[in-house]
């Protein structure tokens, strides 16, 4: 377990570059946030506007799914390098989750 990190010494320019990169990333996160708020607003509006259920249900589920993707990939960095195994297990989990929900809404009768 002797894998402690080696010391890092960055040049000034390198350091500034990383800082800028992070700031750009952070602006991206703000955009994601804005989108989440926007999607939530749409969902609530749809329900308030009282459209047909057959229209609303798929749309709001889709909106929720998009939000989850934003959270996972942007806020939780699942797209970053070194997340392959984690993504695999998350998707396995989502697959099992989906199966369970499908079961309970179809073959547990009435």
């Amino acid at each position: 377990m002797a894998h402690d990190t080696h010391d890092i010494h960055r040049s000034r320019a390198e350091f500034e570059f990383i800082k800028r990169k992070r700031a750009t990333e952070m602006r991206g996160q703000l955009t994601s946030f804005a989108m989440m708020i926007f999607l939530t607003l749409i969902a609530f509006t749809l329900v308030a506007a009282d459209f047909s259920n057959y229209l609303i249900v798929p749309i709001i589920l889709l909106l929720a799914a998009v939000q989850v993707v934003l959270q996972l990939y942007n806020f939780m960095h699942m797209s970053n390098k070194g997340h392959g195994m984690m993504a695999f297990f998350m998707f396995s989990g989502i697959f099992v989750a989906f199966t369970i929900v499908l079961t309970m809404v179809t073959i547990v009768w009435w």
């Binding site: 195994m85 297990f89 396995s92 369970i100 547990v108």
Partner: protein, 637 residues
């Protein structure tokens, strides 16, 4: 702490095991407690067979019989088979990938103690007013109707031990993902490590549904919820689904590590690399994947409708394909090999026909309309005992013989081992083969008695006789263990002489830091490669000798688990209106969360084994090895 050769007092040894975070010692703890529960479950099995040895027997009353059958199933699955497999995973997997320990030594210990206290809690039901009596499947309508606290013991005990198992699963996954030695790519991992990996993944995703289902059961029984209460809008089929969404992967959680053990044995004792390693790995992954898509074949007669039944019937049949791939690859592994019939190998060889028999009856039951006849009859009892005894238990017995020298540094007697084998193996087929026919002759499972006018007497008598032979076999094994411990003859690194993977490259038992230097892996079966190339050093190393960082032992896992154990009593007796119950519940939780808080607030950075200590330790090991060479050779060569 730096040397395990020091003689310690009895109390110090106990304390050492109570606080250990060393995966090898935790393996021993799992083996001992799993072995103990295996004996308990075995006694329960014998009681079942005594009761059913003749028509209208009155050895057990109806209610007691239901308790015994429930506890037999629950104990064998959750408290015996799984922990013993976890023992081998702990003892061997980290060594096989060249790691110094598991990823989370502290959690490893916590996982064990949670399992242990959960198991003790469940078994205390015998002394505290009656054991659970709704079958290990604990179907909701009967479980809610069951009086007394039996079902509460079941739910709370399995909740606690289930957390332990989940923790163990995550631990092995992370260990295998992050801690493989340099050169140990995924496609060079020994098959036992692969099956550990896939079984852990199944634990990760299958235990949550069980936990949720059991939580519903606890809330229904203790806190007035209505998940399964039909009159309040509840639905008992929800329980059945959750139980089997967990229950089917659970079968693979048990059988995959068994496959792994047999894969190792076939390769070692045929002196041949596994035939079709890649296919075996992918078959393992596929079996794990299918494990989640077939659970409703346990529910064909529930009335889910023909569409659901047909879909699940077809999905179930597909599993036969990867399983068949495995069987044929094993056959081709021994084909052209140099087979030595040691005790582990005899078990492995006996496993193939037994498991094939269990597998084909599985396919028969996948045929949904046929299953309407077979379901809940003795045919299914025969089937799953063929799979679990013929697969998992044979693997456990084989693994005990195979890894005993690696875990304890001594060798179980081959002669007694063969006696155990013959008694157990013949007893097993005698007990269960005939039960297929009992099922076809109309005998339902889980009956405490049967009338003499139904033509089942003879076969039941034969079945009971077989159970007796199995019991004799296990007794011989116990004698074997005691004699081996008493004798205490030490063995070297590779007592079987044909070890192929990394665990055979280091002393038996290994020093607490496992590898003084992390080995460099140059292919599949790394130790075999070095042996074939005549490497005198044993291995090629990936790093120079240097300080090793190791975790400290800790008593906190024990205390956390104890807290939950205490809290469970509070929760259970709370419904009886005892004034002391609520304080006990709160007190237990306070112990648990308090010790968790202590753990997170106190920095625990571990300690270092210095280079000098390693060199001294290595010299001691060399000295002992020379002494071993000089004296009578240990093991067989």
């Amino acid at each position: 702490m730096s040397s395990n050769s020091q003689k310690k007092g009895f109390g110090a040894t106990i304390w050492d095991y109570l606080t250990t975070v060393d995966h090898k010692k935790i393996a021993i703890l799992y083996l001992i407690s799993g072995g103990f529960f295996f004996l308990v479950g075995g006694v329960e099995a014998m009681m079942i067979r005594i009761q059913l040895m003749k028509a209208g027997n009155d050895f057990l009353s109806a209610g007691t019989y239901n308790e015994v059958l429930t506890m037999h199933g629950t104990t064998m699955i959750f408290l015996a088979a799984m922990p013993i497999l976890l023992a081998f995973m702990n003892a061997v997997s980290p060594l096989q990938i060249g790691a110094r320990d598991v990823a989370f030594p502290f959690l490893n210990s916590l996982g064990f103690w949670l399992f242990f206290f959960g198991g003790i809690f469940l078994n205390l039901s015998w002394f505290l007013g009656g054991a659970p009596d709704a079958g290990w499947t604990n179907y909701a309508s009967l479980a809610l109707a069951s009086e007394g606290h039996g079902i509460d013991f079941y739910s709370l005990g399995l909740t606690i031990s289930g957390f332990g198992t989940l923790i163990a699963g995550i631990n092995f996954l992370v260990t295998i993902i992050n801690m493989r030695a340099p050169g140990m790519t995924y496609m060079r991992m020994p098959l036992f490590t692969w099956t550990t990996f896939v079984a852990s993944a199944l634990i990760l995703l299958a235990f949550p549904p069980l936990t949720v289902g059991i939580f519903f059961m606890v809330f229904d029984r203790l806190f007035g919820a209505n998940f399964f209460d039909v009159t309040m809008g509840g639905n008992t089929i929800i329980w059945e689904h959750f139980f089997w969404i967990f229950g089917h992967p659970e079968v693979y959680i048990l059988i995959l590590p068994a496959f792994g053990i047999f894969s190792e044995i076939f390769a070692i004792f045929s002196r041949k690399r596994l035939f079709g390693y890649t296919a075996l790995v992918f078959a393992t992954i596929l079996i794990g994947f299918y494990g989640f898509m077939v659970w409703a074949h346990h529910m064909f007669t529930v009335g889910l409708g023909p569409t659901a039944n047909a879909v699940f019937a077809l999905a179930t049949m597909i599993i036969a394909v990867p399983t068949g791939i495995k069987i044929f690859n094993w056959l081709l592994t021994i084909w052209g090999g140099n087979i030595s019939f040691t005790v582990p190998m005899i078990y492995a060889v006996a496993f193939i026909p037994s498991f094939v028999a269990g597998g084909v009856t599985g396919v028969m039951q996948a045929i949904a309309p046929l299953d309407y006849q077979l379901h809940d009859s003795y045919f299914i009892v025969a089937h799953f005992h063929y799979v679990i005894v013929g697969g998992v238990v044979l693997a456990i017995l084989a693994g005990t013989h195979l890894y005993w020298p690696k875990m304890f540094g001594t060798m179980l007697s081959e002669k007694l081992g063969k006696w155990t084998f013959w008694f157990f193996f013949i007893g097993f087929h005698l007990t269960f083969f005939i039960q297929h026919f009992l099922g076809l002759m109309g005998m339902p499972r889980r009956v405490y008695t049967f009338g003499a006018d139904q033509g089942w007497d003879l076969f039941n008598a034969i079945s009971s006789a077989g159970a007796l032979l199995m019991a004799i076999g296990i007794l011989i094994l116990l004698v074997n263990v005691v004699m081996t411990v008493m004798k205490g003859e030490r063995v070297g690194n590779d007592p079987w002489g044909d070890g192929r993977t990394l665990e055979w490259a280091i002393p038996s038992p290994p020093p607490f830091y496992n590898f003084a230097q992390t080995p460099l892996v140059r292919g599949l079966d790394p130790y075999w490669i070095e042996k074939m190339e005549g490497n005198k050093e044993g291995m090629v190393y990936a790093e120079p000798l240097g300080d090793i960082h190791m975790p400290n032992g800790s008593f906190i896992p024990f205390v956390i688990s104890l807290g939950m154990f205490i809290a469970a009593f509070g929760a259970m007796y709370h419904t009886d209106g005892h004034a002391w119950a609520l304080p006990v519940l709160i007190g237990g939780l306070a112990i648990t969360f308090g010790s968790m808080l202590v753990r997170s607030l106190k920095d625990d950075l571990g300690f270092h084994v210095t280079k000098e200590e390693l060199i001294a330790d290595n010299e001691r090991i060399q000295r002992e090895a020379r002494a071993l060479e000089g004296g009578k050779k240990g093991g067989l060569k």
